[in-house]
């Protein structure tokens, strides 16, 4: 393979960007800031891990932000109003979101509909359902929540690796292993390469589609629980637009949006880059937060254009190889 793989480019962007930030604000290069960055983006990292699977398989999941919103409201109401023990509430919402994802996957496969529009309907449905549950912010006062938010591993340099950051890192590693080392992961790549081809190779396309969307929604539900830990509240308008952030993270991480290529680690780097931009803007203080959106847009463009270039190169292999041989 000629040139650098996209993940390496992402890593270089992250390192160079971080170095530039550190030159301007030396305080950024501390475990304290890095720890906060991981904590602030824990839910995004979890959702983006699920999104990576969906996108590699050639699909897209627009419902994740709404699922997070629904989860926070459901968990808050279950614990505070209905008196359900937190752990039972967590299990219930995870089962519920997994079923939701499985249903979307089933509709996509059985009726042969574009994932984009099916998950769009799912997005409306989940957001509408969370509005129905409650339109106001419900604070969560359960003792588990204060225990979890107080828990943190001390890192050298005074940084804190919070519980939700640890959850994110564990899921991340799990995601990497699942994608790289299991038959399921191989099938995800096969599906992204082409549904017909995958089917001919013996991949149960229907089952896989259902499982992939189930995984994405399950992780979105997990992210919702993490988000409720992060804010100690459930709010139906929380995590609006997270689906875009996570798609952006996946793309910046070098995953091909047409499917078939990509990695979870790249997605993680993409999340970190977005977090880094946010941190830089916070440190600067004079820049407004909307620069995050513009910077993300520019990065998105750069990476998609790069992918387009790589794909174009790959499509002309005969000419290139002939040139090399002669």
């Amino acid at each position: 393979m000629k040139g650098l793989p996209p993940v390496l480019i992402t890593a270089i962007v992250l390192v160079v960007g971080f170095a530039l930030c550190a030159v301007q604000f030396p305080n950024i290069a501390s475990t304290r800031v890095v720890g906060n960055l991981l904590t602030d983006n824990a839910f995004l990292g979890i959702v983006a891990t699920g999104m990576t699977f969906v996108i590699i398989s050639g699909g897209i999941d627009l419902s994740v932000g709404s699922v997070i919103g629904f989860t926070t409201v459901f968990v808050a109401l279950a614990i505070e109003r209905w008196g359900v023990p937190p752990l039972v509430a967590f299990v219930a919402i995870l089962v519920l979101s997994a079923a939701f994802g499985a249903a979307m996957g089933a509709v996509i496969h059985v009726f042969d509909l574009p994932p984009f529009i099916v998950t769009l309907a799912g997005m409306f449905l989940a957001r509408g359902a969370s509005f129905l549950l409650s339109t106001e912010s419900v604070p969560i006062t359960a003792p588990v929540y204060s225990t979890v938010s107080d828990f943190a591993l001390r890192m050298p340099g005074g940084g804190r690796l919070s519980a939700i950051a640890i959850i994110m890192l564990v899921i991340l590693i799990g995601g990497i292993l699942l994608l790289r080392l299991t038959r399921f992961g191989a099938n995800v790549y096969a599906l992204g390469g082409g549904r017909a081809t995958a089917s001919l190779m013996g991949v149960a396309v229907g089952k896989m589609t259902i499982k992939i969307y189930m995984l994405s929604s399950l992780l979105a539900g997990t992210a919702g629980i993490v988000f409720s830990f992060y804010t100690s509240a459930g709010y139906s308008l929380s995590a609006v637009g997270v689906e875009l952030d996570s798609i952006a993270a996946v793309v910046i991480g070098g995953t091909l949006l047409t499917g078939g290529q990509g990695s979870v680690i790249g997605t993680f780097l993409g999340v970190l880059i977005q977090g880094m931009i946010q941190t830089y803007i916070n440190f600067d203080g004079t820049l407004s937060s909307w620069w995050t959106k513009i910077a993300t847009g520019i990065l998105l463009f750069a990476f998609i254009a790069l992918q387009q270039g790589l794909v174009a190169l790959a499509r002309r292999p005969t000419a290139a190889r002939a040139g090399v041989a002669s």
Binding site: G122, G128, T135, K293, T296
Partner: protein
Amino acid sequence: MTMLLPRRGLAQILALIVILAVDRVVSPQFFDLRLQDGRLFGSLIDVLNRGTPVALLSLGMVLVIATRGIDLSVGAVMAICGAIAASLADSHSLPVVLAAALGAGLVCGLWNGFLVAVLGMQPIVATLILMVAGRGIAQLITEGRIVTFTSPDLVWLGNGAILGVPVPIAIALGMLILTGAVVRGSALGLLIEATGGNARASELAGVGTRAMILAVYVWCGVCAALAGVIAAADIMGADANNAGLWLELDAILAVVIGGTSLFGGRFSLVLAVLGALIIQTMNTGILLSGYPPEFNLLVKAVVVLAVLLLQSPKLPGFAGIMARLRRTKP
């Protein structure tokens, strides 16, 4: 000539009539119209007026979808153009304001079209870039504030009336007729449908598919710009955060309800606008019935799913029945 109401519009018209009937039951004065200060008032006018932005968006969106594309950025383009119009309104004349806002929409459309037609990006991805960055750009223009204006000319665009008809409705109607005349009065519509049906085959048959794709995104941008200006004129201000938020989804929904397949090909402008009206009639009905407006999203989700299932290539039920009905007709 199938320019105005193709045969396949029956389901949509029936749906609109049913929803209107439900609205009439919910709110007995739904069909009341009265003339006040030279402008018509009433729930029906309200539906049309509020439906204008989505109707305008769906006019552009339907062409994009007909080429097998999609434009996610229309909401952000609305925000940008609304912001431009609002910031220029008090210092410049209306033609300058309009030219600047529509010009910005055109540039946005050109950008999307360039990415899709020339660089060959997937439409979802290409327009996602502007969707993410566009709101930031709009914030940059308004400097993060909600820009208000008092220019009577621009306010008239949102709140005035021509012969009793509110200006936004007149503009939407004008755009529908203009788009219809251009697209259906020439071979353009056919070429767009050909591009969406099979881009490669059309290219080989001599259709300038690149130019077609570029043109539909530009038109979509212009329509979005107009919608943004009207939305800003309506509230006499521009809110970069909320102007046109999620309207891209409503516009796509309107097009889908209008029977245009997301897989490209045949399209109908009138039915797309009708789809926008169906959505707005539902919204207004839910508001009038006293249900919380949050209900809207749930109802929309159910409607999307229902329409999708009807369109599904795998579901023979409805489509099969319709096809059989058509075949038995002389």
